[in-house]
Symmetry: C2
Subunit: 294 residues, 2 copies
């Protein structure tokens, strides 16, 4: 299979659906809908929604059925970036080569646009009810809220914020990465599989895949902040060092960090050994993300 | 019936459930759970959760069944207060007589505690699935996310923020009040009724009740900011004038504002004319809130 073509086609599908599911910027109050759309359409790779789709397909489901859930994942990811960039948090002026939300719309609207995206994600996920029964959607909403909340993604950001400027242990770093990035990767894969009616065995295999992939993704993010091309990344490199952020290269060095990422990518692929060729897109996504440069 | 005793008993029930449903402050990362609990237990009257319960009871449902949804409403209300108080928004140092969340925990943790409460509300509402079928819970989640999002509560806050320091029209003021406060009141009453299986007719009557009550509540809030006792309110009075906030007294004067609030309270009670005595708590709540001094 051609993974680049697969990713391009699914990204296009997700982008169209996001445009459909987000309130138009002609809906009052316009400014907040403009702000929500600004960040959602600021050039994300749509990895989380594509994982929802590929995971559903890996167990015999189809993209259309899980598309609202896929978009919900991207809305939650986007809200987290808007809030992370705020002056009180990471205080970033640029994201994906563009001014961050609060630089364009001001802090108050940026906070509210983030709140609205998070809230809207749960509205959009209920739209799966056209094709999936209620019990299953309730289960998926539980997965998503747990993954995104204080014992998941928000919890990771809390520890990240608290760790700035001080030395942290490898355990703390692992906590940050598995929560801040890992929980949403895991939820994306699990939600796609649950909506498609995966068996318990397959769901376990996919969960392991997602956990390894999520960790690899974040280690590579850390590595790219040191070695990456600022233009390809659309943001300043070296910003982790400047902010004295906890990262894999800081704790393990560059060479060992790259090895650890490779090992996680291999483990991700290995987790899928009992799944059919329907899981090939997931296998290829792992290899592709292992080699990414932005 | 003794409405004070009713409110006391239901508040106690809600407080116990909130304690149960919120992660303990010994769960990592502790600081965010401490911050979430700080604001949830800062002395709210629990009006929204009590409306969920009273509305369910009005159509033959019971409190236990809707308790998770009742708590979800309070978590969303609390998150909105934490974010509204932030320096980038209303910049308030005190709320209910206590320092606001960001004054105690810092801005970053306050933003994240708000995000976590909003997210957790959707996790908690899925706990209704022990006693209610999935389709109905999905419907209720849709109601809640619409009411809390950019076309609801968040939208009201956006217009409120944009209106500070400039003259606004009566229509704009009505938009702010019906969205910022009204949408969550409406959702509380509707969610209780839907979970309890209300007929369409009864749901319509209850919706009208909630819309009148929500508007009355907010007009009285505006009036109390001018005439109220700072000690009873637990916050400085006159703060709306200081911030040049759009209010009913500013647009209509005190006397006319009080009359308008009374009219809304009457209309709220009138909306319930076809409901049985099971709706008496809702009727009494309207009268009680019409006379409130804090």
């Amino acid at each position: 299979m051609n993974i680049k073509e697969y990713l391009r086609a699914k990204k296009e599908m997700v982008d169209r659906a996001l445009d459909l599911y987000l309130p138009g910027d002609d809906v009052e109050p316009k400014i907040v809908h403009e702000a929500m759309r600004y960040s959602v359409f600021a050039g994300g790779k749509r990895i989380r929604p594509i994982l929802v789709i590929a995971s559903a397909e890996a167990v015999g489901g189809n993209a259309e059925t899980v598309l609202p859930a896929a978009c919900a994942l991207e809305m939650i990811h986007t809200y987290s970036l808007i809030h992370d960039d705020l002056p009180a948090m990471d205080n970033d002026d640029y994201r994906r080569g563009k001014p961050t939300n609060h630089k364009v719309f001001g802090e108050a609207i940026a906070i509210l646009a983030g709140d609205a995206l998070l809230t809207h994600a749960f509205e959009v996920i209920t739209m799966c009810s056209e094709k999936v029964d209620g019990e299953r959607i309730v289960r998926v909403i539980k997965e998503l809220s747990e993954a995104a909340g204080s014992r998941g993604m928000v919890g990771g950001q809390v520890v990240d914020i608290l760790s700035e400027g001080r030395n942290i242990t490898p355990e703390e770093l692992l906590f940050i990465h598995t929560h801040k990035t890992g929980c949403l990767f895991r939820a994306a894969v699990r939600i796609g599989a649950i909506l498609a009616g995966a068996s318990a065995d397959k769901l376990n295999a996919l969960t392991a895949y997602a956990e390894h992939l999520g960790l690899a993704f974040q280690i590579i993010d850390d590595v790219l902040d040191v070695t990456g091309d600022a233009e390809k990344l659309g943001k300043m490199t070296g910003s982790d060092i400047k902010k004295q952020k906890a990262t894999y290269p800081a704790l393990y060095g560059l060479k060992r960090s790259k090895e650890l990422a490779e090992k996680e990518i291999e483990s991700a692929a290995e987790s899928l050994k009992d799944l059919s060729t329907a899981a090939d897109p997931l296998r290829e996504i792992a290899l592709y993300l292992g080699k990414r440069e932005s």
